[in-house]
Symmetry: C2
Subunit: 282 residues, 2 copies
């Protein structure tokens, strides 16, 4: 069974990205011949050709494409491992929790209080970040746990514990005719003339095509709605962050959004496990 060294994987990834041995070698800070040799050794060991060295250039083979994805994730994992070990050593009883600005702060408060009241409280450092940042910080070892939202955040590759499920609300300018309603449907807010629905980013940070403005945080949404330029949707707990210029109406047919505590699988840190247990009892 062939063993892959991270050095080899680093070399392979760089070549795969550059598709050019000399440039890749330069980026790696080594000379080209040892790089060629390293790739050949890797190919021999795997018994697989990873690159087609054609007359005009280097291209990835199918197996090479597969290995590229795998190698990247192994390297990310290794870097994360180092970071986490160092963090665990520098502050053994502390955890970094990362969440989007605008996440239900009552829930967060409750979680922190429950942790503080528990038998063996961890020091929790709370980090706020933009949308979609949490997954990266969790993956690369800068954070231990995150508060995320299903189905809006990309939870692929994490373990999760559901904390709170809420309905979505529609947020309208306070003076709008529909603001007097006690409930709305998705179809209704999509059909408001001259008032498009603001679009949240998808998992991959792109936006669904459509007329509404692209937003990426709650403040932008609030501003746009207060200006009467859009309507928007958000989870029910966002009510507390609304202004007097806003009206919040439950969306009856919306999918529910669940706030979850997420952490990297295999993370068997005692502190994470304890916090998850605490969270599960909320």
């Amino acid at each position: 069974m062939p063993l892959l060294e991270t050095r080899e994987l680093r070399y392979f990834v760089t070549v795969a990205e550059e598709l050019h041995f000399s440039r890749a070698a330069e980026r790696l800070g080594i000379a080209q011949p040892p790089l060629s040799r390293a790739i050949q050794q890797l190919e021999r060991r795997l018994g697989v050709t990873l690159f087609d060295r054609d007359r005009r250039g280097v291209t990835l083979t199918g197996a090479g494409r597969v290995l590229l994805g795998e190698a990247r994730s192994v390297l990310d994992g290794a870097a994360a491992a180092a970071r986490r070990a160092r963090r665990a050593a520098s502050s053994p009883r502390s955890l970094t929790l990362v969440t989007k600005a605008g996440t239900n702060h009552e829930l967060l408060r409750e979680l922190l209080d429950a942790n503080a009241a528990g038998p063996d409280p961890a020091e929790i450092e709370v980090l706020l970040c933009g949308m979609g940042e949490q997954a990266r910080m969790l993956r690369d070892g800068r954070a231990d746990v995150a508060l995320m939202h299903r189905p809006f955040d990309d939870l692929a590759g994490f373990d999760t514990e559901d904390l709170l499920t809420e309905q979505l609300i529609a947020i309208l300018p306070a003076g709008h005719p529909l603001a007097a309603r006690t409930s709305l449907t998705t179809a209704e807010i999509n059909d408001i003339p001259d008032l498009p629905v603001a679009r949240w980013p998808r998992h991959d940070a792109t936006y669904e095509p459509g007329p509404g403005p692209e937003i990426h945080d709650q403040l932008q949404l609030a501003q746009l709605i207060a200006l009467g330029q859009a309507v928007g949707v958000n989870c029910a707990s966002a009510r507390s962050a609304l202004w007097s210029a806003h009206a919040a109406i439950p969306l009856t047919d919306s999918p529910t959004v669940t706030t979850v505590l997420a952490w990297p699988p295999h993370s068997r840190s005692l502190a994470v496990a304890a916090l998850v247990r605490t969270a599960a009892e909320l």
Copy 2:
């Protein structure tokens, strides 16, 4: 930024498992001194002590425990990367799909047919395995995709696409008084005198404590019920595998079970992506 070589991680994991340098060295097939030195180098590079070398023995520090989990997953990832690259090379347009024996075969049939009818069909090799095996096979690169069941299978660390959501059914011996009912509740089947509910394993392959027999596949369940020694629950699609000695009654208050297509994240294999797209359109 310190770089971890897989050799170092292998050494570290072995020492962490043995908690004994000499035995670990033996298992690794090297002598003890180089192993000690390698661990010291690792600790220096990370700036972290991983082991407490006490008078009576070696123990993991907190950071060491964290690194152990991380290191295992990195090593597993590296081994899986090698396997997947080799598999991709040996059969570029083929996929291995793994599922439990007893999974809804109409659904599988539909998926295979849709793939075959698609623009660029992959050769799909179907592998059957026992409960809880799928996750391992997916993780270690022996399979590319799996059919699994939420919430019964452990989906941590995978991307998934929901295929089919069903209710659970209670399965009783055909002659049982309750077999005439048109619906049942969980409480009712838990309270049947002298007829315990068979227990499925949990994610970690252990069983919830309780009176019922422990089962791990559908055939065992069927047999036990036919013998009148237990009742059981299963997803609605399991009806087709029942015998005349069985009666299936919908469970009205049960959680739903969703059959999902699961695959390792970062798997950017074209064939997997195509199959997922096909599945999403079912």
